[in-house]
């Protein structure tokens, strides 16, 4: 990707986000489901309902509501959550680090697993073990992350109760954090016991998210490795006497990595989307879990804030992947 392309992508971000805002704002108010109807108590009169509607600013036209919201959003105020009674921006900022840490851990696990499986799969090309690896990849791709979550929950929570199955940290622990990046902070401050406690809670949801993604990485990378291994430069290296593992690792792997990053990197957004259900199953306190409650309660301001956050993350991830590919591929850097 050329710098001009990067600048063009950056320029397109504000209109893209604006479009997301408009669509989400209008859709929420057009589809059935009204937060006021959810909170009308028995005995409320039409006047009581109108009073509540006005209290939450929902008595105005959609256009008026949008203009008010946009005006506030441009100053960093994304409104007040109807169900949580707090500033949306603060709520999302407080929970986002939990999701980011979980997604990062899942991505690391998926990458490590995917690379290992792909290298092994190529190394045993043509043998029976390759069939088994290909079959395994197919199975892991076919089972979605939330099903892995349930399987892991029952396996390691009930059958072999090794790991905690709910929350982000042990409720009995009295630990103070300065930031909401609990894992990063505890690692940086050398509190390894706290980091371990956090990892214990994160490992199952992270693995559930990682398994389908690892299978995807493995499939993409294995195909790229096989293709690259058949290239002339690999054959020449072999003719020069280099061992096959050395050729795979030093010569073939860096070249095979580029298409995998380009295709697989974008799939990280799917992993991020998967946090919604997986966080719910493991009662993990990220924005995915929060999003489900926001939708159930028809908490318009919070839903808008969360979708906008996901949109920003998706755009940032896509851009980051493109930049990474540019960094890895000298043809793009110098082209």
């Amino acid at each position: 990707m050329r710098w001009g392309e990067i600048i063009r992508r950056l320029v397109l971000i504000p209109p893209t986000l604006f479009g997301v805002c408009v669509i989400v704002f209008v859709l929420l108010r057009v589809v059935p489901g009204d937060p006021i109807a959810m909170m009308i108590p028995p005995g409320a009169s039409p006047a009581d309902i109108d009073r509540l509607r006005a209290f939450y600013g929902l008595d105005q036209s959609i256009l008026q509501q949008f203009i008010t919201w946009l005006g506030q959003a441009l100053t960093g105020n994304f409104g007040r959550s109807i169900s949580l009674h707090q500033n949306v921006f603060e709520l999302v900022l407080a929970r986002l680090p939990a999701t980011l840490e979980l997604s990062l851990l899942a991505t690391l696990i998926a990458t490590a697993l995917g690379v290992m499986v792909a290298l092994t799969g190529v190394y045993v090309r043509g043998r029976r073990l390759e069939w088994a690896i290909d079959g395994g990849i197919g199975v892991f791709l076919a089972i979605p992350d939330f099903l892995w979550a349930l399987i892991l929950l029952l396996l390691f929570g009930v059958l072999i109760p090794l790991l905690p199955i709910s929350g982000r940290i042990d409720p009995q622990l009295d630990v103070a954090f300065r930031t909401n990046f609990y894992l990063v902070e505890s690692l940086l401050t050398g509190r390894l016991d706290v980091a371990l406690a956090l990892l214990q809670h994160m490992i199952l949801p992270a693995v559930a998210l990682a398994l389908p993604f690892a299978a995807l990485v493995a499939r993409l990378l294995k195909a790229s490795l096989a293709e690259a291994e058949d290239q002339d430069y690999a054959q020449i290296a072999r003719a020069r006497g280099f061992s096959r593992p050395a050729i795979l690792w030093r010569e073939v792997f860096p070249n095979a990595l580029i298409p995998t990053v380009a295709l697989g990197g974008v799939q990280v957004t799917l992993l991020l989307g998967g946090t919604v259900l997986v966080e719910r199953i493991f009662s993990y306190e990220g924005i995915g879990n929060m999003a489900i409650d926001a939708v159930i309660n028809r908490d318009f301001p919070l839903i808008q804030g969360l979708i906008l956050t996901f949109a920003v993350l998706f755009i940032a991830l896509n851009l980051a992947v493109d930049l990474l590919v540019r960094l890895l591929d000298p043809r793009l850097r110098h082209g």
Binding site: S83, L84, H85, L153, R280
Partner: protein, 514 residues
């Protein structure tokens, strides 16, 4: 061989290293059993807000258990729905129902150690009555005002007589909040560091994960058995089952009945069930073909409620004939709507319908919102088909139900569950069947005329008798289809004694060691 080459041995070593934390005994300790002195409850909903008087969570009955652990209601409620002293030790009207008198308990303190004062009571009631305050039950609290304080006694003028006023003081938004503290920290500050006068004070809160409470040393009531209570917010039923089965929690509830039966048979666990003040029902909307009395009555008589309870809910339900469940103030066991498919057929025949030429309409239902809701409606549609009713099932979300009901736009039949934690007929039959109420689907004028005078009836015996008569009329006219009273399954570790509440609350202050 090149030292950096990826050998099989290297890969095995790497895999072994990655698996080490999983296999180590260090991780094993995390699947901890409850610590001594700590009670852990796997709770079925998240806690959205700490203010029990404003917004969605204020009218969510399921959250009230947490609120009642932290805050004191004005008036307490016993497990059987009867009322008992709370922060108020005495309450009542004067003879002509123009004034209310309340007496505040002496010695009650807030979690910061300051005393609970009559000014706190007055401020809480006044704030609840403020139309701009966002209290969803404001229409009840606004019916009393002009409070005066004399020692620990508070009097107020009745601006409009509301017979259920004191009953509301035991339930939704009926909590006393600390005036001085709230005014000092503001609404946002209160959300971040709430204090109440209840048996437990907030110690730690991780949104969507857990709430940790510590016993309030200055609590006026009995000392709770557990010094620490942890509410783990485990909203997924499968995860709640796993929580109790793995030993991560001591108590859980609202799990599938099949799982309840399985878990209670396991060693180390015990189960208990109790009918709660929550009923399953089918709203009938006053549109065609439900304007035909024969169709409505046939739809009622064609349903075998006992079979539904026995086969779909494994017996965990109590069939009902009116919107008053056993234990409610206006429950009348003499009102019966029998299962009689032949009667249903003959009623439909009078209107020209038969299994060959059925009456057609839509029934709406949730799917997965309540146990076996969709399956139940499937069974009912099957029963209806046999007598000459061809109903089409339409699935909706609960949020859609609320909106459609408020707009009077429900289908001719719509499944719902109705809670009535104070057990008063005005909050069951009253709001569900009184035409002007936004919750009512049947707007029939005859029923409105019968209910109307009961709202302000000052003679309690006459009022309850009036509601019973209304329930009888509604049953005779088939204006709603009451199905059954829900039974709440609770699973807990053996060695614990859990007091079931008829209003469905799981109060940690009532859980003790057996």
């Amino acid at each position: 061989m090149d030292s950096s080459a990826l050998s099989r041995r290297t890969m095995l070593q790497l895999a072994g290293a990655a698996a080490l934390p999983l296999s180590s005994g260090i991780l094993a300790r995390s699947a901890q059993a409850a610590t001594a002195g700590t009670l852990t409850i796997a709770y079925n909903v998240n806690l959205p807000s700490f203010d029990p008087t404003v917004g969605l969570s204020a009218v969510n009955p399921t959250i009230q258990s947490i609120y009642q652990a932290i805050f004191d209601p004005y008036i307490g409620q016993a497990p059987d729905l009867s009322f008992k002293p709370g922060l108020l030790t005495k309450w009542g009207w004067n003879a002509d129902r123009t004034k209310v008198t309340m007496e505040l308990r002496k010695g009650a303190t807030w979690h910061d150690g300051s005393p609970v004062t009559p000014e706190d009571i007055v401020w809480s009631l006044t704030r609840a009555a403020d139309p701009k305050g966002g209290n969803p039950i404001q229409f009840v609290w606004s019916k009393v005002g002009n409070y005066k304080v004399d020692g620990n006694t508070i009097t107020g003028d009745v601006l409009e007589f509301e017979p259920t006023l004191f009953k509301w003081m035991a339930f939704l938004t009926g909590y006393v909040l600390p005036k001085a503290y709230f005014e000092k920290v503001g609404a946002e500050g209160f959300e971040k560091a709430p204090i109440g006068s209840g048996p437990y004070k907030v110690d730690a809160f991780e949104r969507n994960a857990f709430l940790r409470l510590k016993a309030h040393p200055g609590y006026w009531g009995p000392k709770p058995a557990f010094d620490t209570v942890v509410f783990k917010f485990v909203t997924d039923p499968t995860s709640r089952v796993a929580e109790i089965e793995s030993g991560g929690s001591d108590v859980t509830f609202e799990i599938p009945y099949e799982e309840f039966d399985r878990l209670k048979a396991k060693s180390g666990l015990a189960g208990q069930t109790k009918p709660v003040s929550d009923i399953a029902m089918i709203f009938i909307t006053d549109i065609a073909p439900m304007l035909d009395r024969n169709v409505r009555l046939a739809a009622n008589h064609a349903i075998d409620k006992k079979a539904i309870v026995d086969r779909l809910l494994k017996g965990y339900g109590v069939p009902i004939s009116t919107l008053e469940a056993p234990g409610y103030a206006a429950f009348d066991p003499s009102i019966k709507v029998s299962y009689d498919p032949e009667l249903a057929k003959s009623l439909l025949a009078k209107s020209g319908f038969s299994p060959e030429k059925p009456v057609k309409f839509t029934i709406q239902t949730t799917r997965g919102f309540k146990p076996k809701d969709y399956e139940m409606i499937q069974a009912i549609v099957g029963m209806w088909r046999k007598v000459g009713i061809d109903a089409t099932i339409e699935v909706y979300e609960i949020a859609q139900h609320f909106e459609l009901r408020a707009r009077h736009a429900l289908a001719p039949a719509a499944f719902y569950n109705w809670g009535n934690a104070i057990g008063d007929p005005s909050t069951s039959t009253g709001f569900a069947m009184f035409g002007p109420s936004p919750h009512c689907a049947w707007k029939g004028k005859d029923t409105v005329e019968r209910i109307g005078p009961l709202w302000g009836e000052k003679d309690e015996a006459k009022r309850i008798a009036g509601w019973k008569a209304v329930d009888k009329y509604i049953a005779e006219e088939g204006e709603v289809i009451p199905l059954f009273q829900y039974v709440q399954p609770i699973i807990h570790k053996k060695g614990l004694k859990v007091v079931s509440q008829a209003n469905g609350m799981i109060l940690p202050q009532l859980i003790t060691s057996a």
